[in-house]
Symmetry: D2
Subunit: 268 residues, 4 copies
C-alpha cells in the first residue's frame, strides 16, 4: 500500500512536491509596525468565543509590514530566492484566553503561495496582496536606519490600494511595540465539504517563535491611511488615535504550535 509523503499538499511518493517543507521554518526580515487605537468594539467583534477582549487597551491595533526571506533547515530556498522571498502586511489585535493575553492576526495579505500554505497551518487568515516597503540601504537615496529616516509601505489587493503609511524614525527604543508581543491565539477553520454541516476543522491554537534574534528597534511616527474596498473590512478598524511606529530587523524560527481548544468558536 502506498504511503504518501509530504508535509503539505500535493503529497507524493517522495514528498518532493509538497508546497511547504516540514518545520522548523527560518526567517530573516524587516518589520515596519504602526500601532494605533480604534473603537474597541471593532476589535471585540473580530474575537470569537472563547476569546475575550484584552483587559488593558482593548482597542489597540498593530498594522505590520514585513519583508521576508524564509527557508527550511539547510536553507536551500535562499539560493532560489523566488522560493524564499515574500512580503506581507497584517493586522494584529490583542485578546484574552483563560486569563492570559494573546496577540491575534485578524487580517493578512502575502504575495507567495508557500506563505499562504504556512498561514493555513498557523491560523493566519491569508489572502494574496501586493505589498511594498522601503528598504534601508547604506548608499544612495534609500534611507539608513537613523533618526529622521523615512520608510513608506503600501498594501493593495484585487487592484485596489487598501493601506499606506509613511514612518519617520525618531530614536532607538526598548520595544518593537506591544500589540504583537504575545503568543498568537489563532483559529484553524475549514468548512465541512457537506453543505449545512458546519465546520470540519475548528481549532484554537497557540503559536509563537521557537527562537528569535533582532536588532535594536527604532521608534517613530506614522502617517497612516486605510481605504475602503468591496471585499475588505480593514478600514472598519478606523484610526482613532495614533500610538507609535517601529522599525526592526529580526531573525525568527517557527517550529510548531499548541492546540488550545477544539470546536469552541461558534463560528459559522
Amino acid at each position: 500500500m502506498t504511503a504518501l509523503r509530504g508535509y503539505f499538499h500535493p503529497k507524493s511518493a517522495s514528498g518532493g512536491s509538497s508546497l511547504i517543507p516540514s518545520p522548523p521554518w527560518l526567517y530573516s526580515g524587516d518589520l515596519l509596525t504602526v500601532e494605533y487605537r480604534t473603537d474597541p468594539d471593532r476589535v471585540r467583534e473580530l474575537l470569537p468565543a472563547p476569546l475575550e477582549p484584552a483587559e488593558d487597551d482593548p482597542g489597540a491595533v498593530a498594522l505590520i509590514w514585513a519583508d521576508w526571506q524564509s527557508c527550511s533547515t539547510g536553507g536551500t530556498e535562499l539560493l532560489d530566492p523566488v522560493r524564499s522571498q515574500y512580503k506581507e502586511a497584517f493586522v494584529v489585535v490583542r485578546c484574552s484566553y483563560q486569563g492570559r493575553t494573546y496577540s491575534r492576526c485578524v487580517y493578512i495579505w502575502v504575495d507567495k503561495d508557500f506563505a499562504i500554505a504556512r498561514g493555513l497551518h498557523q491560523g493566519y487568515p491569508k489572502k494574496l496582496g501586493s505589498i511594498h516597503q522601503t528598504r534601508p540601504h547604506p548608499y544612495g537615496p534609500a534611507p539608513r536606519i537613523e533618526a529622521g529616516a523615512r520608510f513608506g509601505a503600501t498594501l493593495a489587493a484585487a487592484d485596489r490600494r487598501l493601506a499606506q503609511t509613511v514612518v519617520t524614525l525618531r530614536e532607538p527604543a526598548e520595544t518593537n511595540g506591544f500589540v504583537n508581543g504575545h503568543p498568537m491565539a489563532h483559529h484553524r477553520w475549514l468548512p465541512s465539504v457537506e453543505k449545512g454541516r458546519g465546520l470540519a476543522l475548528d481549532e484554537l491554537i497557540e503559536s509563537g517563535a521557537a527562537s528569535f534574534e533582532g536588532g535594536r528597534p527604532w521608534v517613530g511616527d506614522a502617517e497612516l491611511e486605510l481605504f475602503d474596498a468591496p471585499t475588505e473590512e480593514l478600514s472598519r478598524l478606523e484610526i482613532r488615535e495614533p500610538i507609535a511606529a517601529y522599525y526592526r530587523q529580526v531573525g525568527v524560527v517557527w517550529d510548531g504550535g499548541r492546540l488550545l481548544a477544539s470546536g469552541t468558536s461558534g463560528a459559522e
Copy 2:
C-alpha cells in the same frame, strides 16, 4: 458573545471579508484536455489508502488547462473580473474506491487566491502558477473552433516552465475524454499544529458538479512536453503513449461534496 461569520477566513462580524463566498459556485470556462498513458506505477504511487488503481487502463492521465470566469449566486464577481477570472492547469488520474471508479486531481496550479481557497475546500492540491491558453475568437488570427484549429497552452511555476502543449482539432466528438469523467475522490489534509502529532484533518471526500452544460466537444491531437523542476514531480508522469486531446466550452455549478471516510489515508 460574538458570532463570527464568513464561509472562509478571514471571518468577521459581517462575513464580508471571507476569501470565498458560500457555495454554490458557478463557472463558465474553456477546457483543453490532453490524455496520455504513463507507467501505471507512477499513478499508483500517488494513490493513498484506501484508494486503489483503476482496474481499466490504470496509467491513463489527463493534463487539463482551464480558462475560467467564476462567481457566487448573483454574479457580482463577474462585474469586477479581477475577482472572477482565473486560469488553471491540473493533472487527473483515475482510481477505485469500494468498487467504484473515481477521478482524482494529483497536481494543480491556479493564478488567484480565491481559487486556492476553493481548492482547499474541495481537496484540490493547489499551488500558484502562471497558466496560458489560446482562446478561440471569431475574427482575426486567433483560431475558430473548427477542424485544423490549433490551441497552445503552457504552465509555469516559480519561474520555470513545467508543461506546454499544442493541440490541433480534428472533428467533433462524443466525449471530452474519459479520465476526468468520474466524480472526484480527493483528500483534505492539514497537519496538526503540534509537531509529531500527524494530521489534524484527514478526510476522503467525493465531489462533482451539481449541474453542467457544455458545447460539443472537439477531439484532436496534441504535442505535449513536460519539464523537470526541483520542487515539482509532474515530469515523473512521463508520456508513454498519447491518447487524444479535447476542446470544450462548459458551464458548471459546484455545490458541496460528500464525506467518504476520515483518518484512513495513512499519509504522513
Copy 3:
C-alpha cells in the same frame, strides 16, 4: 563588419531576440468602449501643436478596454500564448490636423512588454497596468452577447484602481462609437540623451488598420468611475455627460503608418 538584425531591441546577429517582430501585426480581440463628454478644455490641453481640437463635439472621450491575442505573420505567438495575449485600457480623443479629423490616444495601459514596444513604435504613450474585462461565454454565468448582458471592466496601475465600468448591452448598433473611428494622429517622442537639448525624436505620425473585420457592434449604457492617483491624470478628464457604450469583437491588421511632420510639437 557586423550587420545587426532585429526589428526592435535587442538587436543581434540573427534578429531572434527582438522584443517585437517586424509588421504586419495581427490581432483578434474584444473591445469594450465607453464614450462620454468632458470639459473640452481638458481635451484641448492634451493636444500639442500643430493639432487642434475637433470642430464637432471637441469634449468627446472614449475609454476603451481591449482583450487581445496578437501575432506576427505565421502566428507562432498564438501557440505560446504568454507571448500573444495581453489586455489594455486606453483613452481616445479627437483632434484636427490640416482640416482632417483624427483620433488620438492620450493615455494607455497594457500588461505585456511586447505591447509597450509596439506602442513606442506607433506613438501610444503606454504604461504598465492591470486590466480586466468580463468575457462573453456561451455557457454558465458569464454573459452572452445579447440584450441585458452586463460586462465589467477595470484598470489599475501602481497598485491603485484608476477606472471601472459596468456596461449593459441594449441592442445591435450600426457603429462602435465615433471617437475612435478616425486614423490616429500620434507623436513619437524621445528626449535627447544630453541634458537641455530638447527632443531627439519628435514625430507626428498617422496610423491606422491595414485591414479590419468585425462582428456586429452592440450599444448599451455604462456606469463609469474614474479615480485619482498621484502619477495619473485620467480623472482630470471628468465625466460631464455619458454618450453611450459599445461592445464589439474584431480582427485587425497593423502594417505601418505615415510620417506627417517632424519637430513641430513644441513639447518640452
Copy 4:
C-alpha cells in the same frame, strides 16, 4: 497654443503623468556580478559598426543582477515603493570606439515600466522579466556579507527560466570586476513608422554615472547556468571559462549622457 509637458510620455499640461521624471535619477542597490569568458565571436556579432571588439580579453562577459530602489530629486518615489523598487538582470560586454574601451549592455530584463522607459532613454535594450536575488540580512538564515556567504540569483522571461547562479563570497576585493567598469556605449534605435524606411532614430551614445559611492566589493566564485528559450539568445553567450563573481552595495546618480554619433550603425 498648448505646450505639453512631461519628460516622457504621456505628456500633459502639467507633466504629472510622465512615466519617468527628468534626470537626475538616484539609485541605491545591490549588485551581484558574474564574469566569465565566452567565444569572442559571440561578442563580436553583437557589436554594430562603428564599434569594434575590445583589444584585450574580447570574450569577457558580465552577467549582473541588481536589486534597486530609485527616485528623482526629492525622493518621493521611495515613500511609495511600488514606484521606486525594481530588479534587473543584464549582460555586459566590452567594445572599442575610436580607440577607447567602453562597456555595452547587450541584453537586459527588468520588472517595472519606469525602468523600461529609462532604458529607452539610456539605450538599454530592456524587456520585462522576473528577477530574484538573495539579499544580505543581519539576522536569521539569510547571508551576511562575509566569507562563505552564498547568494542565489535567477532570471526568467515569458515563463521560462533563462539564467541562474549561486555565488559564494571569498574575501574583500579591490574591484567589482572589469567588464562593466567603463562608460557605456549604447545605441538608441527606433524604426521608422513607414515600412521600408529603415531607422527613424539611430544614435550611438555614451552614458555613465554622474556620481557614485559604494561599499567594499567582495569577490567569490559562481556556479552559473544559462538556458535556451525560443525568443532569447542569452545562452548563445556560452560559458567557456569562469572569471570571478562579485558582490557590492552601491549608490549611483545618472544625469544624462552624450551623443557620440548618429546614423552609423548599419543596423536593419
